[in-house]
Amino acid sequence: MHIDRRTFLAGGSALLIGQVPLPARAQDKLIKFGAPQDFTKVYTFVTAEYSQGQRDYITLFNERGGIKGFKVHLDVIDHGNDLPRAIEAFERYKREGYVLVDPLSTPMARGLVTRALEDKINMVTTLSGRSDAADGTAFPYVMPLSPNYWSQAALIIDFFQKQDKDLKGKKIVLVHIDTPFGREPIPIYQALAQKLGYEFQAFPYTPPGNDQSAIWPQVRRARPDWVIFWGAGVGQTVALNEAIRNGLPLDRMSSSVWLSESDMEVVGKDATKGVLKFEAAAGGREPKVIQDILKEVVAKGKGAGPEGKVGTSYYNIGVMMGAIQIEGLRKAFEKAPDGPYTGPWLNEGLRSITNFTADGLLPPITTTKQDHQGGGRGRIARWDGSKFVAQSDWGSAYEDVVWAEIRKYSEEFKKSGK
């Protein structure tokens, strides 16, 4: 390239203009939540809908006047599952006095654990992150606030047992993505196998799971009584496709929480009839909160995304997390109305939520200084061709086994930082 006077002047003036600061947004009377999430890389399957639900709930809260004159500002930004970008966002939030971050990505949550603990900013790890973070004594500022993978695994096994009365001698197969996230539930399945006497076998597939052609013939030949498929996004749809092609009975297959209506649409709404999944929040538009959002937010044109997505599984999980975060905020205001409005202040609130159900959207959640999971309640739902229908009541199962596992790893973390 050749530089002459004109290009130089143009470039120089462009630089100067770039320097002019944009007017800052009004910052008084705001409680600031940060949501650096992955919109573009790995978690694309969930983030858009989750974020829409979270933002809609917070809009609802603000529209209703907030709390004590305070409103919540939610900063949504893409971190692309890239740690330097997540750290940049985290440092910026720290400087600007944010009290909560919600990265919605297991690798980012893991990478930010040390910073969250040191800088005392509440990090929400919705249905992701480390399972052992449920132990509040080891991770005071890491807040799962939702059933972790171990609780989900235990509930799924519990459901199987209730269906079959006895699991002794049965065979349960786990088909999972070969990442830390996919390997995470294995200890629980093994521990429960000893307790309940079923045979357990795990089949890992390479991430992200767009080719599982060699796994499912083996699954079929293992002749399992129950199949659990543990993945996310494209891995789930491929797993379902392969299961159908291998002639496995879908009504004896269950997924973790990461299965949504759009996955079913990809595979075929009717073809997937009978599939089970774990549910952390009620789906659909019936719950009162969703109705409120439809009336007070979406109808006024303030919705954060397409109206058609309101009420999907991931949208409702977003609403659920928004609601729990706001409930934590209310509790914090109850405890110390005059602040100072910092991370530790909100932490007190988030750790003292009692029997919160968001008007029936979720099972009652109660957090304590020890239990950041909030009880680990959920239920199993079945796809009926158009929506997921609850198959059991809200509840938890084998929390003793789950907590033994949590403590084992959190002790290890306290001791050696693993």
Partner: protein
Amino acid sequence: MLYRQAGIRHRRYAAERQLWPLTFDRMLVGAVALFLLAAPFTLDRLYVSGYLLPWLLWSSAALGLNLLMGGAGQIHLGYGAVMAIGAYSSVHLVRNGVPFELALILSGSMSAAIGIIFGAAALRVKGLYLAMSTLAMQYIVDFTISHAPGISGGTQASLQVPRVSVLGIPVTGEVAPYYVALALCAIVTLFMLNVGRTSFGRALAAIREKDYAAEIIGVSTFKYKLLAFWTSSFIGGAVGAVLAVCYLRIVTPDQFHLDLSIQLVAMVIVGGLGSVLGSFFGAALILFAPIFFNHAIGMLAAGLGLSISTDLRSHIPLMLYGGLIILFLLVEPLGLAKMYDNVRKYFLVWPFRHVRK
């Protein structure tokens, strides 16, 4: 103007061969060095640990890769794996009580020892084939790390980095890690600035231009290709170690995936192959362009009240980022360093444009 050549007369060979013969260049380097040294005390914490620290580390890594790609002309798509080896070695060493100074050197050596295996492929193939084999090795290293619980740290696959001290000073807070990174970056930069003036650097240049021809004039391609990989991997390992201790503070396998390797290659190429200055420019652009675009699009959308869908809003930065890389390669294949050079040349003779060729 500015870069004035008038009045500079060299009386000794040493004076003529110095790194920055022009007074203004020297002043500029001095000013930047001073700024970087004073940054923790003058700048906000956000800029120090959110921008300057990663920038220094990524620049150092890009410099190490540039030695190989720009200096010796070998393609390496697995530099992230090399850094991972350094990071994991240092974390394990430090956790077992080895002082960090020693761990830094040991982890550099560890990376170098494994990095030389990448180099073995370079002895047989080059160009696209070499790119593919380094890419494959990246996958193999990734797999090994994440599937060996002894390395990755078990089920949770994350390892917290214990607090270390360098020369008796504990590396805690924001200031100390920054200075450790700055020191490493300064050493790597000085090495890279001078390597071209050594017999080693000239041998690499000969190999870069044509390895067969280099062999004929007596440069052992076997020795120097492996040496190039050794040196570059050593730098990569050391940077990986400092990265883990000063910046990441908790290491997980996915921090060093192929994405990191591609990011680094992009830094080297967008900055300018073989240019030291370019590595710094490239690192800044590749690291911060996505963040900048994200904020800019967010502000534009909020400021103008545009109602664009979340999907589009979050993907526009990605498009701009990819587009930017393409644009740079098309418009200025010699990279950002060349752009700076153009500006510098413009001022070198300003206002007498006609003397410029």
